[in-house]
Structures are given as structure tokens and as C-alpha cells.
């Protein structure tokens, strides 16, 4: 399978500096764009949080031996696969309970914090999510 660098599926990736926080707060108080239709921020977006990035996506497959997982993400019907390396020591949890990589079955939704390192996307934390969030 071709590994797709995370930069290829970045959707409006932004670096957030502490200075931006009050500015964003002010922007929240302003009226929305008239044509936006209330489109919410996407949970599936890859976004920067400091040096780390976050992705919420569906587990497509896990390989505990290779310590990797393939996550399904995308936009509309343009779906993409992202490969994440899960090194030993990565915190995997569901509602605070520790999990093993082999516990992440296909179809489970996870929120992954990761860092890019050369060609790898290195997971830092993996947390199982319940479906939901929206409008």
C-alpha cells in the first residue's frame, strides 16, 4: 500500500500560536459568514496543536507486529488512507482505560495525536472516540 504522507491529507492545517487565542476568541464573537451555512469545523481535519497534529478517523486495519495502523479519513466521497506508526510507549486508551494496539478493531473511531518524523507519522496518544459530534 502506498503510504500517503500526512501533509497530503492536511485539511486547513494551521499552526496555532498563543497569540492567536485571544484573536480567535474575538472572532467567535463576530457574526458568521452569510453563506457558510453553519458548516462546523471538521473533526476529521488534521490540525496542528503546537508541534503535534490531531486526526479523528476510523481504524481500517492494525498491525501490532509492525506497530502501525491505517486510518480512514477524507472529505465527502474523496476518502484517503493515512498510515500511523504506533511506537512502544504510545498511550492508547478508551475512557481512561489502557488498551493494546491489537484492541483497536476495524471500524473503531480514534483521536490520534501524532508528530511527523521524516516519512513517518508517529503517534503520541490514541484515544477511542464514541460516534457523535455535529450540528
Amino acid at each position: 500500500m502506498r503510504r500517503i504522507p500526512i501533509t497530503e491529507v492536511v485539511m486547513r492545517s494551521r499552526k496555532v500560536s498563543p497569540l492567536l487565542v485571544p484573536i480567535l476568541g474575538l472572532l467567535l464573537l463576530l457574526p458568521s459568514r452569510a453563506f457558510s451555512g453553519g458548516t462546523p469545523g471538521r473533526a476529521s481535519d488534521v490540525s496542528s496543536e503546537g508541534a503535534a497534529e490531531t486526526l479523528v478517523a476510523t481504524v481500517c486495519s492494525c498491525d501490532p507486529e509492525a506497530k502501525t495502523m491505517n486510518l480512514l479519513t477524507g472529505c465527502g466521497h474523496a476518502l484517503r488512507m493515512v498510515k500511523i506508526s504506533v511506537p512502544s510507549g504510545t498511550k492508547l486508551a478508551r475512557k481512561g482505560q489502557t488498551l493494546r494496539l491489537s484492541d483497536l478493531k476495524p471500524g473503531i473511531i480514534v483521536r490520534v495525536q501524532f508528530r511527523k518524523s521524516e516519512e513517518l507519522n508517529l503517534a503520541q496518544t490514541v484515544e477511542v472516540q464514541e460516534p457523535g459530534g455535529g450540528r
Partner: protein
């Protein structure tokens, strides 16, 4: 003389009354929603130009694509209407029950055309269907009228109708689909996509091979990267302003006005509910809050619940997200009078055939329809033809 003079007053009075009542011009198919601001109407018109633009490889088309422009497939009777094109979607339903849309192999949308440069490089006419695909689906191009209103229906209103365990024992068990991040889906024949904006952003890439700020990467060719030199335009190939205009056009397109009901069709409307069609084809949905006044707290005669329902094995094709092969989103019936063919793949050329092809959860309703005498069947069809 006096009599003639007084007669002449009536048309004047009539005109004054009409003007005074603010008699609105009837909405024509392809019109924007009433009540848009001047700025919104201008954006709608800019969006129409984007929709009607024919892209070329030099302006971003391909290398893989289904059509060179939005209006190629959404064109009849006006821009935003249906098209006569069909496309191919694939999926792999794995033994563990997971639905794999084969994203890493070019799925789920398999593009039917390639640019001359890609043809020259690989010798292919279309994207190859991945050999792993266990199912393949044909999809017609529906109209896109009224989708802004559907986008504004709150999730809570949709979820309130879900009854996945059929706890009320009516045989109807609509359930929600979920996108890859868990959000409620509502757009597409399998209700995978949560928002209209994402549907449009994804369609630019999956249908036309046009990258944009939300999806800055091209589709792969069956999972293989594009050969060098076949995609000369730097990504993203269109800017945010262009996407916003296309979004505004689709969002602000009004639903087609239904035809006037004949006496027979009025009887059909009653039968529509009595037979059980309205259990899934819910006649009215209400939108929620929106910054766009024309979309805010409106009733839309959509005739859908935006949920998945089992339609039986005869209609089954691909899985997608949580949708099993036999599950489809209840197709909205607004604008039905403009459609020459019916169902997700256009296999029915009459409404009666379409009803008779309903299975699964619709089996009881179908049986009730079949039990009607001819005049009542005709009444129900007449009602559907008016939508």
C-alpha cells in the same frame, strides 16, 4: 357610461390588491431561494458560472475524472438538475464485517475518464476497478435542488426519527450513517457525508480531479501514484473563493415547486401516508438556525428522513460507512416530476416499477400498494408525479 366606468375599476383594484399583497413571482426550477440578500444572490450567480465552467487539463481537470464540469452531470432541465451520466463506486465488505471503501486503491469512486496525458502515460481509458472490490455500484446523477435546506436540518431532528432496533415494531428501523470521524452523515445515496460543503469539496476531486484547499491531493490511479508530468497544474487547482461560490450556488438553489394537485393526486396524497410511504419519505422536515435567513427555520417538503433503511437484497450493492449493501438513505422525493428514471441506479423507468422494486423494510408498504385497485394506484402515482 357610469357602468362602464365602474367596470374599469375592477382591473385596477385587482392590480392594486396583487401589488399590495406582494404577490411573489412563482419559483421556477433553478431559481435561488426566495429571501436571499443581494450579496447572496450575487454569490449564487458567481457559483452558477463555476458550476457551468468546463475545466480542461490546463485549468485543473483530472488526470482522473468523471466529467469536466459540475453542470455536465447536473444539467437537466437547468444547471443543478439531473444528468444522464452514471458512475461507478466500489467497496470491499471484509469478512470481519468492516466496510472498506478501498480508499488506498482509488475507491470508492472509480473515475470513468482520464486526460490525454494520463492515457499516454499508462494507456488506460478509465481508472481500473480494484481487484479486491467485492461489490460494485452504479450511481445516476441526481438533481441538487434544495440541498441547502437539507443541510440546515439539525442532527437532532434526524436522530429523533432513528429506530435502529425497531422498538415501535412498525417494521421500519431507520438508522444513521456516520462519517469516518463519527459525525452524522446525510448526503449521498448512502448518507455518508455530514455536510453539503464537504460533499462539494470532495466532489471537485472525486468527480473532476480538481484539487481545492480542503482536498489538496489528487485521487490515485487504483492506488498507484500519478506518473510524473501528467498533472501540470499546482495544487490546489482552484481557490477558496471558487469553492465558496459553488457552495453558495448549491446551497441557495430552491427546491423545485411541486405541480398543482389534481383531484386524483389529492386522493393519492392521502394514500401515500395510508400505504406507509410517509414512514420513511417523511413529507416535511424543518430546518434549524442558520445565518442565512432564507434557510433559517424553514419547512422543506423533502419527503425523506435522511436515514438508512434496508431495501432488500434485490437493490443491494456496495457498503459505505455503516451502511450495509442493502441499506440506502431514503431518497428525497422533491423534484420527482422532473425525473425520467428512478432509484439510485436508474433501473426503474416508471414510478410504479420503482415502488415494486422496494423490498426490505418497505415490503409491507409495497404489499399495501399492490393491494390497491387500479384507480387508487393511479391516484398515488399522480401524487408522486406532482412532487
Amino acid at each position: 357610461m357610469r357602468r362602464v366606468a365602474s367596470l374599469g375599476v375592477f382591473p385596477l383594484l385587482g392590480a392594486a390588491l396583487v401589488a399590495g399583497l406582494g404577490c411573489a413571482r412563482p419559483i421556477k426550477t433553478g431559481d435561488p431561494l426566495p429571501g436571499l440578500t443581494k450579496q447572496q444572490r450575487e454569490l449564487f450567480e458567481q457559483g452558477r458560472k463555476v458550476m457551468e465552467k468546463q475545466f480542461t487539463p490546463e485549468t485543473g481537470l483530472g488526470p482522473l475524472f468523471n466529467a469536466p464540469g459540475c453542470s455536465e452531470c447536473h444539467e437537466d432541465p437547468v444547471t443543478g438538475g439531473r444528468g444522464d451520466e452514471s458512475e461507478v463506486h466500489v467497496a470491499l465488505l471484509r469478512p470481519d464485517g468492516f466496510c472498506d471503501p478501498l480508499a488506498e486503491r482509488g475507491g470508492p469512486v472509480i473515475q470513468q475518464h482520464v486526460t490525454p496525458a494520463l492515457h499516454a502515460a499508462l494507456g488506460i481509458e478509465s481508472e481500473p476497478v480494484p481487484p479486491e472490490a467485492t461489490t460494485r455500484a452504479s450511481r445516476t446523477s441526481p438533481d441538487i435542488f434544495g440541498l441547502g435546506l437539507l443541510d440546515t436540518v439539525p442532527d437532532s431532528k434526524i436522530l429523533a426519527r432513528a429506530d435502529p432496533e425497531d422498538r415501535n415494531h412498525d417494521g421500519i428501523s431507520g438508522r444513521p450513517n456516520r462519517f469516518t470521524d463519527g459525525r452524522l452523515g446525510r448526503f449521498g445515496r448512502k448518507a455518508l457525508v455530514p455536510t453539503l460543503r464537504e460533499f462539494i469539496e470532495g466532489a471537485f476531486v472525486a468527480e473532476q480531479g480538481i484539487t481545492n484547499p480542503a482536498v489538496p491531493t489528487e485521487e490515485s490511479v487504483g492506488g498507484s501514484p500519478l506518473p510524473p508530468g501528467v498533472d501540470p497544474v499546482p495544487d490546489p487547482e482552484i481557490d477558496q473563493k471558487t469553492v465558496d461560490a459553488a457552495d453558495a450556488f448549491v446551497r441557495f438553489l430552491a427546491p423545485p415547486a411541486p405541480l398543482e394537485l389534481t383531484h386524483l393526486a389529492k386522493r393519492g396524497r392521502v394514500l401515500f401516508s395510508r400505504v406507509g410511504c410517509a414512514a420513511c419519505h417523511v413529507p416535511i422536515l424543518k430546518t434549524g438556525k442558520s445565518p442565512v435567513k432564507a434557510l433559517c427555520h424553514k419547512k422543506v417538503a423533502a419527503y425523506t428522513d435522511l436515514l438508512l433503511h434496508d431495501m432488500g437484497p434485490d437493490l443491494a450493492d456496495i457498503c459505505l460507512g455503516l451502511a450495509a449493501p442493502s441499506e440506502f438513505r431514503t431518497e428525497p422525493l422533491m423534484g420527482l416530476h422532473l425525473m425520467p428514471r428512478f432509484l439510485h441506479d436508474g433501473r426503474a423507468d416508471t414510478l410504479e416499477k420503482a415502488i415494486l422494486l422496494h423490498g426490505g423494510e418497505a415490503t409491507a408498504s409495497r404489499a399495501r400498494f399492490q393491494a390497491l385497485d387500479d384507480i387508487h394506484k393511479k391516484a398515488l402515482i399522480k401524487f408522486l408525479e406532482s412532487l
